[in-house]
Symmetry: C2
Subunit: 805 residues, 2 copies
């Protein structure tokens, strides 16, 4: 096992590289040219139109002196203002990091004050000469002899910690619930407050979907029903619009290139992506290309208009789903929470998501199909988690012909040099060994190692060879790992959830399972997830926690490195925004002509909840598991939480855009996953102590997971419905208030176009073909589309209005 010195060196390297990233960030962010990379939110909000300093490079040295000032800035904004600025989702998200601090700082203090002395003086390792051990092991529970009464101290601390976690979780759930309710209460009038999504409208031989919906709700909610909007099957249309957008981008690119170099004759190939095909190198080619494209666009435009016409007039394009709006929030709350029909698989009502949150493709999946999809996806998830390594191993064995065994001599070569190399190589071993590593940390680490490698290896050809041999398998693993969140999101979409927010919540749940099995268990029990599964099935239920419990103390150093490499580094990389930085500058160079183009080239990004949150949960789990076993891990986790809190607070203030606002609907999931972490840690402790010959403690230890399950149920009953239902009292209060403050409000007008498919709404935006036709067609087309647009809305509303008295 590694010594304290090893860890110190490793920490120093990681801290230095994180610091390097931070300095790079501090410098880059002050350059006006990067203003749109690092402060896009202010542009989006319309608070900033151009960089504050107009020069290309900022030369004001005073600003460089205070290069960590952004951290203070990030902390300065008070929470209510932050909610106003960034939305409740983001604020509650960063509060998870804060919760990590609140939980682990007191636990760390307790552990260092009580457990570390108890462990240190255990003297088991010194007395037994069978083991090699380091100072770190002396701090851990491994130093307590089997059957010692010192374990009672650990159990007492376990109880204290557990109750502290319960208390913090309870308080946090309460606070979040209050924040959510206040946010909802304080929020302005929004269409989703009045609207219910109705799915699985049963077919009726005599009536269209629209009529059927109308009649049903007129009968069953006579005093509250207002209007409804049917859902059109606009998938084909959406594809056409996407295609047109892509063509437009290419057109602009060619035009720019052509304008900048009218004399030079750049070469290109006619094949896919300009990569192969016949080589043509004339300006004519571009002109023709542009002409062709423009012609194509006009064709497409006509095609699209025809398609749009068809969709709106064709009753077959109507999906058996509708957005039904009510006269009051009370009416909507009632309809969303009750069952409408005898058959609970038809007339399904639920709160309408925000218009921007609707995932339109999934609105019309029949009940049986939905169930089969979920079954298939559950099976697929199982295979994804447990057989994830199979395709990777195949690709790796094909890609690396020399075989992985040659990697190890290369490492040995490194090891001989110095302490620095020692640390590097151990990090490299971590990479190879770790099964799952995440891009940012991995990038950072590889850059480090590569630079050190270049500096210290005398023969450059060695570098290349060893790079290929040493890094290729890692890169292949990385590519697969990067695909995981994407694959998981696709799976969630297949499962048929109807809003982006629920899709992201489901994806996060899946990804958490993946990380739990492949990172946590995968690193504790060596071998692939499938091997673990095999082991798990062929060991007794008490044996499995034992296996983990015994392995846990030995893996402390590994996880310390992991926290630094994955946790710290990925946060540092997050703030640097390397990928958006590069992409923005590429776009800025090749595509941007006007200020509006620059606006579009800007990519603020979103808070990637389904990827970040499960990763963060791993740190909670590690904290819970190691707080009793090897408290030395805790400071590293605390640093992670503090650093991440700072960075993400900065990011949500200055960078990220809001995709949707779910009012912290994800909190029950977050809470549950933290509870799962706690539960696992308690099982592990039970397993560990059952190997230490202290049988008397078992009943006390069994009580802990039972209590945890109970606590979970208690909190669920106490708070969860605030996240899934909308209390009538609230609804009534808001209705009454609104009636008093705005008696002339016409809800019908307000809601009429709220839930029209974005394709029909955004008609004007995409329909004017650029280039030569700027004078003629655009006018007509705009006219036509706006006619279409209004036709859509008038159609939707007339359908809702006409048969009503």
């Amino acid at each position: 096992m590694a010594t304290l010195q090893d860890i110190g060196v490793s920490a120093a390297i990681n801290i230095l590289s994180a610091l390097a990233f931070l300095i790079a960030f501090a410098i880059l962010r002050l350059q006006p040219v990067n203003d749109r990379v690092y402060f896009p939110k202010w542009y989006l909000k319309g608070l900033r139109a151009s960089p504050i300093h107009s020069k290309f490079v900022n030369l004001d040295y005073r600003m460089y002196l205070r290069f960590l000032k952004w951290m203070l800035d990030a902390l300065r904004m008070p929470e209510p203002e932050l909610i106003e600025h960034a939305g409740l989702d983001s604020v509650v998200y960063i509060r998870i990091y804060l919760l990590g601090l609140k939980i682990f700082v007191p636990i760390a203090v307790l552990a260092f004050a009580v457990l570390v002395p108890v462990n240190w003086t255990g003297q088991w390792l010194e007395n037994s000469h069978d083991y090699t051990f380091s100072d770190i092991d002396k701090l851990s529970i491994s130093n307590i002899p089997s059957g010692s009464s010192r374990y009672w101290v650990h159990i007492a601390v376990a109880y204290l910690c557990t109750f502290w976690v319960y208390y913090m979780l309870y308080e946090e759930y309460k606070t979040t619930t209050t924040m959510r309710l206040e946010f909802i209460a304080a929020s302005d009038r929004r269409p989703d407050q009045f609207t219910v999504l109705v799915r699985n409208v049963p077919p009726d031989p005599d009536e269209s979907v629209s009529e059927h919906v109308e009649h049903f709700f007129c009968v069953n909610h006579p005093d509250h029903y207002l209007l409804h909007q049917v859902v059109y099957n606009a998938n084909k249309l959406a594809n056409l619009v996407d295609k047109k957008k892509s063509l437009q981008n290419w057109l602009i690119y060619y035009q720019n290139k052509y304008e900048r170099n009218p004399s030079k004759k750049p070469t290109t190939k006619t094949g896919f992506g300009g990569l192969w095909g016949a080589r043509v190198d004339a300006i004519d080619y571009y002109s023709k290309e542009i002409e062709k494209l423009t012609e194509k666009m006009i064709d497409d435009f006509i095609q699209e208009a025809a398609e749009r016409e068809r969709v709106l007039s064709d009753p077959e394009a109507l999906l058996p789903a509708a957005f039904v709006s009510f006269k009051s929030r009370w009416g909507a709350a009632v309809c969303a929470q009750t069952q409408q029909s005898n058959n609970p698989t038809i007339w399904l009502t639920e709160w309408a998501p925000e218009p921007s949150d609707v995932y339109w493709n999934n609105l019309a999946i029949p009940y049986v199909e939905l169930n089969i999809r979920r079954l298939l996806m559950a099976v697929a998830l199982f295979f994804l988690i447990f057989f994830f390594m199979v395709p990777i191993s195949i690709v790796q064995s094909v890609a690396n012909i020399d075989g992985i065994e040659k990697v190890f001599p290369f490492l040995k070569n490194l090891v001989e040099r110095s302490v620095l190399f020692d640390a590097c190589s151990s990090s490299l071993v971590v990479i190879q060994d770790m099964n799952v590593m995440f891009l940012n940390g991995w990038l950072l680490l590889n850059i480090n190692i590569f630079i050190l490698h270049l500096l210290l290896v005398p023969y450059p050809q060695d570098v290349v060879r060893s790079f290929i041999q040493g890094y290729l398998p890692g890169i292949i693993l990385k590519v697969f790992l990067l695909l995981i969140p994407v694959v998981i999101m696709i799976m969630s979409k297949i499962e048929g959830f109807t809003s982006f927010s629920s899709l992201e919540r489901r994806s996060a749940a899946k990804y958490y399972l993946f990380i739990l099995v492949n990172v946590f268990l995968g690193n504790i029990i060596a071998g692939t997830a499938f091997e673990q599964l095999h082991k798990f099935l062929h060991q007794s239920p008490t044996e499995f926690p034992k296996t983990i419990g015994v392995a846990i103390p030995m893996k402390a150093t590994f996880f310390i490195t992991y926290v630094m490499v994955d946790g710290w580094a990925s946060v540092a990389a997050e703030v640097l925004r390397l990928v958006p930085f590069i992409i923005f500058h590429i776009k800025n160079t090749f595509l941007v002509k006007t200020e509006q183009d620059r606006e579009q080239a800007m990519d603020p990004g979103f808070l990637d909840f389904p990827t970040y949150e499960p990763r963060m949960q791993l740190y909670f789990l590690l904290g819970f598991v190691y707080c009793l076993v090897a408290p030395i891990l805790l400071p590293f986790i605390i640093v992670f939480f503090a650093f991440a809190y700072l960075v993400f607070r900065h990011q949500i203030i200055n960078v990220y855009d809001r995709k949707y606002e779910s009012s912290a609907a994800f909190w029950p999931d977050v809470h549950r996953r933290i509870i799962i972490g706690l539960f696992i840690s308690q099982l592990v402790l039970l397993g560990l102590l059952s190997t230490r010959n202290v049988k008397k403690t078992t009943p006390l230890l069994i009580a802990l997971p039972v209590l945890t399950i109970w606590f979970h149920r208690f909190c669920k009953g106490r708070f969860e419905s605030a996240f899934t239902r909308f209390p009538l009292q609230e609804a009534m209060m808001k209705d009454t208030l609104e009636r008093a403050t705005d008696p002339t409000l016409n809800v019908r007008t307000y809601l009429r176009d709220a839930y029209v498919h974005p394709i029909f709404k955004g008609g004007n935006e995409y329909c004017s073909p650029p280039g030569d036709e700027e004078e003629g067609i655009p006018l007509v087309s705009t006219k036509r589309t706006s006619q279409k647009g209004s036709k859509v809305t008038s159609l939707a509303s007339s359908e809702a209005d006409s048969p009503r008295k």
Copy 2:
């Protein structure tokens, strides 16, 4: 293992004794004196006032000739009429037996047509000389050699059976749902359709509970709220009333005795139950006793009146719960299904149970206390199930000083005699061995054995000795087993459910777990439940199904005996109604003076759902498990289902009273438990085949439980909400219909007194003290109580009316 001959003999004995019971029943039921024992329902319904034949003993020989005619009678009543007559709960309950037939008859046909020939010709047991085997084993899967391709036949049959079960369960769920909805739709106006039970009304410093409820619902359901009834803490009052009722019974008993034997001086003792204390033997004692009692009753009456006064006027006696009634079913449906307040632990609304279904004691348990109670009861249930044998063993070891080992020589003594004895003794071993046996079957069996014993053992003192030694441990076990449903019901009451129907459903769930562990697992894996738990924890998850799978074929004969002894016999005993028979005749002799008294002495009993249903589930489980392993068990189970269907159909027509009507709300539980049985059988099959060296079949076998879980979720989503929610469409339909057919209906008057505590309602019934005071006080008291009674109702309604416009 037992041979076919053994089982034949055992079956013959059991069939004969069941037949004896049936003949006894056939004779007894025709005696006019027993009419109130065997046909109480007709009296309750007012369709019969006195026995058809007025003679004491029925001598019409023609009726005896058709002694099995009741079976045909029981089948004759068509289902709609039966629902009308006995309620939906009872009808759906007997349909579970019918479902058993529908599931297992085709499976048995398939198994005997396919599996039995395949097993019979497997020739494994004949070729291997290591095992002793019988013909029964040759019919079972044990006869197939390891690794044989014949197992594919079993897997194919498993799939066929599984899909058949799915189909039948799905159809049955659908039918039950339809029946429930039709029943609810067809049912008359009932107060619970308009009423919602509101619990956890938060305390308010300025308002009483009643005002608070009123204001809250006036504000939040302004168009629908009608009135409410608060719940009084009448527990003390209820105790007083109970005490008085018991005193009255004793009084009548003494009066009767005194009147019948005015000359004779019977002796009694003054102590508890007349069992000890000073012996007094004079008529004076009774007179004094009566006087004392009467005085006491008057005192009590005054005390009760005072208590009643106090309860109604004391605001502290108001519980934070209320029954809130709405103007329409729609309003009630909305309120019951929605969340009222931000805080989901206050203002909890749910459908009000029927007035007769309300369990008044549990209406006011705060949220935290409720959670703690459930936690404690979950832990208690765990200990009840797994440590159930501990107190029994202690009592047994104390009660049987000679030690259980002496039982076995006695058995050996029996074994030597004849084949009959052989069968008897094997039955006795079953009893001792079985861990859990149920009273009726046990009674029957013991009577058999005892009679045989008397006939065949030469020395009577042997009989007594061996009876004590052989039966005492069994009796002790029996007493504990009889207490189990009672204990479980008390546990459910502590858990805080608010209606008898939910209490019974919860008790059934607990009892099912108990039977599953202690009867099913307990008999397959020898040893106490705790030992099984230990084994389970220390075996791998794949090992446990293997252990069971291997043991299953060996236990076939045991379970065949079990089905006959427990299943057939208990059903036969059910129809004979031995205990109510005895009790009725005792009461009839000692307590009955008037026809009204006789009415009260009649005990129709109820369908004991929480005891019968879990036991029946065991037969489903056995059927699923053995249909592939040893199909020989199936005919016995089919006979059980058919016989039970007949008997219970007869009982619900002629005997049982309805305690409440939950409209088959228990069906989702029944369905789930059948699914659990299927799931267990699939795991067992997986375990069994994994020991038979046919690895290729594993994926096919794993797919089965996954499919079963999916099927459960599918059905749950498809049907369950029909049992927990009330669709608005239905409510609206009934409201509209009622408004059309009965426009003058005053719902307020109809609902005013619906949910008054039965103590306040039944005031007159218990308040007139009998005896000497018949002229004076009763009038006053009746007046006083009726005043009180009307005061209660006027109070309740005035509280509801006064602040309304």
